[in-house]
């Protein structure tokens, strides 16, 4: 078990693409850490660079206080679970799990012990003699995890751990993964493009774009106070409303409405972007007024899209049974303290 420390880390591909760009990051011992971002943001490259599968171009990586920047993959003490699990099809479950020990030429007995101990903790004890092809997706994932655990590595890296599972299994696996990580207390870094997965699992999240970290924080921080409009747009199962407007007398004027703004002492006429999550907008007497154009049923709530003056679309969620009729007028206001104001030029949170 070990903390991970990255300083000034860059990974540049031969074609000149800076997949990881001058990145500083510390991950605490025992932390469950998510690298989140859209495809091509560099999150997988960063994970692979930590593992040693990609060579960093500059900067340093240290694990548990020791510099491993130039250490070979196999000597870093890093276990990795790949998106496709990478189980060896010709080996049984037991042989797969014990493979790290076989590589180190551990005794047959030690290999068997490792396989049975690790598999018992992951509910695989009955499956030891099977081949990977005879297992379900969830079981395959657990075998891959068991093999990684059997390595007794300092750090566990997971590449899109849930994306190869179907929707129902994914939720189960998510809960399982979180409990497993708590029990092992193993420093774990995982990569995902699914913000819900990151919010649900991680102690802290790094939201990445273009090889850099846009925001680093707890799931709460990242969800409630996205640091810029990119993060605001990316986090949340329904996209955040980002409305351009201007600041006036402690108010922001957007979509034909004046909304109470947090105290930022902005100069009158400053161009801003107001960010409000649909979940934090509720029907009100005063506020943003528009025509109901679309109602989408989300189960417990419905997402209502309002067409506001100036062709601005605003989304809000309403509880079930309170859906407005399409074509009627509706007014909504943000819950107190939930309006975020971004600088229109820098896109940063003010």
């Amino acid at each position: 078990m070990a903390a991970i420390e990255l300083t000034g880390l860059s990974t540049v591909y031969p074609n000149g693409v800076r997949a990881v760009d001058d990145l500083d990051l510390s991950i605490d011992d025992g932390e469950f850490f998510a690298l989140l971002g859209p495809s091509g943001c560099g999150k997988t490259t960063l994970l692979r660079t930590i593992a040693g599968l990609e060579r960093s171009s500059s900067g340093t990586i240290s694990l548990g206080g020791g510099d491993v920047t130039r250490t070979d993959v196999g000597k870093r003490g890093v276990a990795m679970v790949f998106q496709d699990y990478a189980l060896f099809p010709h080996m049984t479950v037991a042989q797969n799990i014990a493979y790290p020990l076989r590589v180190r030429r551990a005794s047959k007995q030690a290999q068997q012990d490792a396989a049975s101990t690790t598999s018992a903790g992951l509910g695989l004890a009955e499956l030891l003699e099977r081949r990977p092809a005879q297992l379900s997706g969830g079981q395959q994932q657990r075998v891959a995890l068991a093999r990684a655990i059997a390595m007794e590595a300092q750090v566990l890296l997971l590449d899109e751990p849930l994306s190869n599972l179907d929707a129902r299994l994914r939720l189960e696996a998510r809960t399982f993964l979180k409990r497993l990580q708590r029990e092992l207390g193993l420093t774990t870094v995982f990569v995902t493009h699914d913000q819900a997965e990151a919010l649900a699992l991680a102690d802290r999240i790094a939201v990445m774009a273009d090889g850099r970290i846009r925001q680093l924080g707890t799931p709460k921080d990242v969800f409630q106070r996205p640091a810029d409009t990119f993060v605001a747009n990316f986090i949340g199962s329904t996209p955040m409303n980002l409305l351009t407007g201007t600041a006036h007398d402690g108010f922001v004027e957007v979509a034909g409405a004046r909304l109470a703004s947090p105290d930022l002492s902005l100069a009158d006429g400053t161009k801003v972007v107001a960010g409000i999550r649909p979940e934090y907008l509720a029907p009100a007497a005063e506020g943003i007024t528009g025509t109901v154009s679309i109602v989408e049923n989300l189960g417990v709530t419905s997402l209502v899209t309002l067409e506001c003056p100036g062709d601005v679309l605003v989304g809000l969620t309403v509880p079930e049974h309170e859906e407005p009729r399409v074509g009627t007028a509706m007014t909504a206001a943000p819950a107190p303290g939930r309006l975020l104001v971004y600088d229109a030029e820098t896109t940063r949170l003010l």
Binding site: A86, V103, R147, M151
Partner: protein, 296 residues
């Protein structure tokens, strides 16, 4: 097969008559130049047919005499042994290992390097035998040969002093391209994540090949070994380099058959040996197929 079953098998809707018309030229040529000579060889293997003399005009049926004679012929035993050495040395070991080694190393090489090496290896394979045999004679010649010039050595007649070793090196060079290409495509089918998992657990290159790569490509290894073994066993190019000499030291079976038939004029005897070579080939092929079936 009855006409009714023919019609039900006529899935392309071409009509049986037309289909037969399309394949008949090919069948005719195969029959004329492959099937007939093969059967004819078996037949004359049972006669005392010769190139000249009375038996060339009126060969007599001698039964299994040629075959029994071969078993007593030390030169036949010698040829059989040399063929075995040639196949093991240049195909099973030489081409197989070098081909796999190249494919494995070139995987991670720069694209330019890979293309250049592949082109060179392929060149050795596609050049006509007569051309490469001449080139290798020029390389291995005692007086002014390229190898001796490079070594600063004027006394070694490689093809005379080390005929089998020369042939094995030559044939390894000549045939590696096929193994290299076959293994290249086989290796491309090994999932990269499995290789990377092996790297993260600290497996050495050899452990990775043995534990991860080989089980994936075992079928390819058997198929490749079968093909290159048969090609090498039947290869006649050694004749162009050493003509079986000196003193039968490099006389593999195809060369022995040629010498018996053309030099000695013993057509019946050489046909019988050809048939024996065919049997050896069949046995080798069956062995591989059995292995292949058992593994899968």
């Amino acid at each position: 097969m009855s006409a009714a079953t023919n019609r039900t098998r006529d899935t392309s809707g071409l009509g049986v008559a037309r289909a037969v018309a399309f394949v008949s030229p090919a069948l005719l040529l195969i029959g004329l130049f492959l099937v007939f000579p093969a059967l004819w060889t078996i037949y004359i293997g049972l006669t005392n047919y010769t190139l000249t003399g009375p038996a060339s005009v009126a060969p007599a049926f001698v039964g299994l005499e040629n075959f029994l004679g071969a078993l007593d012929d030390a030169l036949f035993g010698n040829a059989l042994w040399l063929t075995l050495v040639f196949v093991l040395g240049s195909a099973v070991l030489g081409q197989n290992l070098l081909g796999f080694g190249l494919a494995w190393v070139l995987r991670s090489a720069k694209p330019v390097v890979r293309r250049v090496v592949e082109a060179l290896v392929l060149l050795a394979w596609i050049l006509p035998s007569v051309v490469v045999a001449y080139l290798w004679t020029a390389v291995l010649d005692r007086d002014g040969g390229t190898l001796n010039a490079l070594l600063g050595n004027e006394s070694t007649a490689w093809l005379v002093e080390y005929p089998m070793a020369s042939l094995i090196v030559f044939n390894t060079w000549r045939g590696t391209a096929f193994s290299m290409m076959l293994y290249s495509s086989a290796l491309a089918a090994v999932p990269p994540s499995q290789l990377e998992t092996a790297r993260t657990v600290g497996a050495s290159g050899w452990q990775t090949v043995r534990d991860i790569v080989f089980p994936h490509i075992r079928g390819h290894v058997l198929t490749n070994t079968l093909l290159i073994s048969l090609w090498t066993a039947n290869d006649f190019t050694p004749f162009l380099l050493t003509a079986g000499g000196p003193n039968h030291e490099s006389e593999t079976l195809p060369v022995f058959i040629y010498q018996q038939a053309i030099t000695n004029g013993e057509l019946g005897y050489s046909a019988a040996i050809s048939f024996l070579l065919l049997i050896v080939n069949l046995v080798v092929a069956l062995l591989y197929l059995l292995l292949l079936r058992r593994r899968s």
